[in-house]
């Protein structure tokens, strides 16, 4: 569902490709034994290698390679048996070696694809161009001293995966869906925590515009877009900017632009002419990385069920719709919660209670599922009481509210409050008779053709029984007696 910009000269299509940098979940850095945990005191997690002391050499962390392979498999991508680490040369104070060790001509992961979820349950396939491993730079701090900049090397050397997409995205919404899906996959795999606030996932967005179906336009790369929302805003701004320039008779110049979240605009960072010449060449300190096919296969064995597989299974096995399935699988913990509730029960009912009731109220309270006062077993217990007619669906909502407040089991609440449903036909019939006797005008009107009044009678009976009367029995009796 492509996003179209209406310009003065007609419609414009937005073409987007994304480069996502995802920090590999690992205890140590890509080429040194230093800790890679976020949030430590500045420069407390820096080895001699990370500080690029004279004579220091990188040694590859096998676990980071395993994580990259796992990610590649999760992106349905080709794993390259041989890949090469190269040096990307440039000077900056937070880049101790004067080069970043990255992969360039021979990345560890090649072409793949993922499915993104669009509104109305539509899906679209997005191509993955490549994934490569590289080291992160340190961090320059410009606000610690009036005239000097400080450098924190804790992040220097941490493993990153750069995941490049094909220019298959057509607008802010698709870009957001892509980023969310990618994040979801990485979190399922346990290869990146996807935490955009801490910078463990960062996106560069390549944006261009063209007449629908026409040749690709010149793209601009937008950096510093650090949330899904920022990606959407930056694309909306940048695509409009490009359309305005072209329609005013100008041309787009290939350049790198910076997203300014405060001003809500992109601005030029450097033009193509000013672009660095990184002078890539194979890192002579590292041999080509050669992977054993059996090893790759063994990693494949350990892959968890991925979001899309799970979604399709939920649709097929539980008969859920694409949308509900999509929401349920968005977090692994959510999908697991749902599956424990649904086990041996009506899956649609389980999905309904998880999605509409539990997630609704948690969301209102700003809580995550792992903070839920109601366990999956407890929610299942509530559903059991509905199914075996112990309580009605309406009463169940009250019980649910109580469970949420007290963490008590549904059965206990029903017991304590005497909410057990009345199924004694004689007792209900008595109330039905009373209601009919007390409302002769409405009885006459109903019998005269005002069918809608049926609800009134049901309501009255439920009111008299404190909501505990079995609704099916009430319906049946009223139908018989009002004939």
């Amino acid at each position: 569902m492509a996003q179209i910009i209406k310009g003065r000269t007609g419609e414009w299509e937005i073409v987007i490709g994304m480069e996502v940098h995802a920090q590999v979940t690992a205890n140590t850095k890509l080429f040194s034994g230093a800790s890679a945990v976020f949030g430590a005191e500045p420069n407390s997690q820096v080895s001699m290698v990370d500080a690029a002391m004279p004579g220091m050499l990188p040694t590859l962390n096998a676990y980071c390679v395993e994580q990259a392979v796992r990610t590649g498999l999760g992106l349905n991508a080709e794993i390259h048996a041989t890949s090469v680490f190269e040096r990307k040369n440039y000077f900056y104070p937070d880049l101790p070696q004067g080069y970043q060790i990255s992969q360039y001509l021979h990345p560890i992961v090649g072409k793949g694809k993922i499915e993104i979820d669009l509104p109305q349950g539509d899906v679209k396939e997005i191509g993955i161009t490549r994934l490569h491993l590289e080291q992160d730079a340190g961090k320059s701090l410009h606000d610690q001293h009036p005239t000097k900049s400080f450098v924190d090397l804790n992040r220097s050397g941490c493993a990153l995966m750069e995941i490049v997409s094909e220019p298959d995205l057509r607008g802010a919404e698709e870009a957001a869906a892509y980023l969310s899906k990618l994040r979801m996959i990485l979190r399922y795999l346990g290869t990146c925590d996807g935490n955009m606030e801490e910078g463990s996932m960062r996106a560069d967005v390549n944006v261009s515009v063209r007449k629908p179906g026409g040749a690709l336009g010149t793209r601009c790369e937008i950096k510093n877009v650090n949330s899904v929302k920022a990606v959407q805003m930056a694309i909306d701004y940048e695509s409009r900017r490009q359309v305005d320039i072209i329609e005013d008779g100008g041309t787009i110049h290939q350049e790198t632009r910076l997203w300014d979240p405060t001003k809500g605009e992109t601005r030029s960072m450097r033009s193509k002419e000013d672009a660095h010449d990184y002078r890539y060449f194979p890192d002579p300190d590292l041999l080509p990385l050669v992977l054993d096919n059996a090893w790759i296969a063994s990693i494949k064995q350990t892959l968890p069920e991925l979001p899309d597989q799970k979604k399709h299974r939920f649709m097929q096995d539980y008969g859920l719709g694409a949308y509900d399935s999509g929401v349920l699988i968005a977090e692994r913990i959510r999908a697991d919660f749902f599956e424990s509730v649904a086990k041996g029960r009506d899956a649609k009912m389980a999905a309904n209670w998880v999605l509409n009731e539990l997630l609704g109220v948690l969301n209102k309270d700003g809580k995550n599922l792992d903070q839920s006062p109601i366990t999956a077993a407890q929610l299942g217990g509530l559903i059991d009481l509905i199914v075996d007619n112990t309580i009605s669906g309406k009463i169940a909502k009250d019980v649910f509210a109580d469970m949420y407040a007290t963490s008590k089991d549904a059965a206990k609440i029903v017991d304590e409050k005497g909410l057990k449903q009345v199924t004694d036909i004689g007792a209900i019939e008595k109330t039905v008779d009373q209601v009919i006797a007390a409302n002769p005008d409405n009885v006459a009107a109903y019998r005269g053709g005002k069918d809608k009044l049926f609800g009134f009678f049901v309501g009255q009976v439920m009111k008299e029984t404190g909501g505990k009367a079995n609704p099916e029995i009430v319906n049946q009796l009223l139908k018989d007696k009002l004939k």
Binding site: P54, G55, M56, Q97, R279, F281, P284, D285, L286
Partner: protein
């Protein structure tokens, strides 16, 4: 024993003396410290460490008394100032690191200290290992202890880049020294100073803690005055190191045992015709002939070999080594350690720091490498040079189907006067013509002193071996050593000793 008699011992002889308690490690070390003090005019050392040497020697004596002596226990050595030594200034003969004190030890020095070696100090080199004369050092020129008989007043270069290492061993200031060889930096200075030196197969010794010049070519090695001493030292520094991804996980043969009882009978010795270059001095050709005859006389089989691509080694090297160097030396930016010259902004600070911190030859190679790696030039230079490198290696591998080792000259001339060739980098680069292809091919190579030329200066010969076959290289070198029976002493040393 006198200082002279101690400093003239080979390592093997000294170890025998130490074990027979004829002298102590402290006495043996002190003799070399005194020789060092007497020869300061050669400018061999950047940093002398006599206090450390004497402490280590005393510890060695204690170990030996307890029967716990290592392979080189009590043997004082000099260390090229490119190996990081914990707590001891390591400069790479550069201004930018002139006060740099590492907090870590290189693997090679750790290994040799673990065998009981004693550190006399850090010796001079061409800055960052770039040069063939030890003239590009920020700490001044090192002089060759040899002088020509025709112009005894003219000071000669000791070769380079490990010129400090070769000069101290030739001048009897140390019985052995550590060096590194990127394009000939062990073999050429060994030849100029009339001693032995071996560069093992690339990957035999760890590069961890060795200040990098060109990572795919750099390899540590040793200098000594006998082939056996070289074997002993090489054994102590070889082996796999998980801290260097390019070091090879291969067992280290007992190089010394391999020498004993070995000979060159039926050894196939290749003579590559491409090493006979145009304009080669007669004396070099003669020494090569002599060497060939010596091995033949000992029962070796001489085989004519062709290495058609070796003539491209020099240009390939002078693309690849500067490319790697331009990147390896990027870390010297004044930000985290080393000298910094403050400028008005970051860019100027970088410019001033690096302009001041690097010698001209270093700057030249950084610029050449940066240029060759640039967009639009990469394929024409770097990629093409890598292809040549492969062809050169293939040539050697093909040659080793027909022979076990190659015998070649090692330098196109004997040691030359300080200042000569200085204004002509190309002529200077030609110095490496016989040594450089081995680094490109990763092969082991050894220099053995063969004879004196008409001016009384030493000329060496080179043995080249198959990858990982240092044992055969050493065996062939030993054959040359026996036949050459090289006993000449540097002239100035003789004068000094007499005085």
């Amino acid at each position: 024993m006198t200082q002279k008699s101690l400093t003239h011992l080979s390592i093997t002889e000294a170890l025998a003396g130490l074990s027979k308690k004829e002298f102590s490690a402290v006495e043996y070390t002190r003799a070399h410290i005194e020789a060092t003090e007497q020869n300061r005019d050669l400018n061999c050392y950047i940093t002398e460490t006599p206090d450390i040497a004497l402490r280590q020697a005393a510890e060695s004596d204690a170990r030996r008394a307890k029967g716990q002596a290592g392979l080189l226990d009590g043997v004082p050595i000099a260390i090229k100032d490119l190996f990081c030594t914990q707590g001891v200034r390591t400069t790479a003969a550069s201004r930018i690191l002139d006060q740099f004190v590492p907090e870590y030890e290189s693997t090679v020095t750790s290994k040799i200290f673990a065998e009981g070696a004693v550190m006399l100090g850090k010796v001079n080199l061409d800055s960052f290992g770039m040069g063939s004369t030890t003239g590009s050092s920020a700490f001044g020129q090192t002089f060759n202890p040899w002088r020509s008989t025709t112009s005894p007043d003219v000071k000669l270069v000791p070769g380079g880049s490990s010129g400090g290492s070769s000069a101290v061993v030739a001048a009897r200031m140390a019985p052995g020294a550590l060096g590194t060889d990127t394009g000939g930096s062990i073999r050429q200075p060994a030849a100029f100073c009339g001693i032995s030196g071996i560069k093992p197969t690339y990957g035999r010794c760890s590069r961890f803690g060795v200040i990098a010049y060109a990572s795919s070519l750099d390899q540590a090695g040793v200098f000594a005055r006998t082939v056996e001493d070289c074997a002993l030292m090489l054994k102590s520094i070889s082996g796999y190191d998980p801290k260097d991804s390019t070091s090879a996980n291969k067992p280290v043969p007992d190089f010394v045992a391999g020498l004993q009882g070995g000979n060159v009978k039926r050894l196939k010795v290749g003579i590559p015709k491409e090493y006979r270059v145009e304009g080669m001095p007669q004396e070099i050709d003669e020494s090569w002939h002599k060497g060939t005859q010596w091995l033949k006389d000992q029962g070796a089989e001489i085989v004519d070999i062709s290495l058609p691509h070796v003539k491209y080694a020099l240009p390939a090297y002078y693309i690849l080594a500067p490319c790697e160097a331009s990147s390896n030396l990027a870390r010297y930016d004044g930000v985290r350690y080393g000298r910094r010259i403050e400028g008005k902004d970051l860019k100027e600070t970088y410019e001033l720091t690096r302009a001041h911190g690097f010698q001209d030859e270093v700057k030249r190679r950084i610029m050449v490498g940066t240029y060759a790696l640039s967009a639009g030039y990469y394929d024409a230079y770097y990629v093409k040079a890598q292809k040549l490198r492969r062809l050169i290696r293939d040539d050697y591998m093909k040659a080793f189907e027909k022979c076990d080792v190659l015998l070649t000259p090692i330098t196109p001339s004997a040691a030359f006067p300080v200042g000569q060739n200085e204004d002509d980098p190309i002529k200077m680069y030609l110095e490496d013509i016989f040594t450089i292809s081995l680094n490109l091919a990763g092969l082991p190579g050894m220099c053995v002193p063969a004879m004196l030329n008409a001016e009384g200066l030493p000329l060496g010969l080179q043995i080249i071996g198959r990858p990982w076959d240092e044992e055969t290289v050493l065996r062939a070198a030993r054959g040359l050593e026996i036949a050459a029976d090289f006993r000449a002493l540097p002239g100035m040393l003789g004068t000094k000793m007499a005085a």
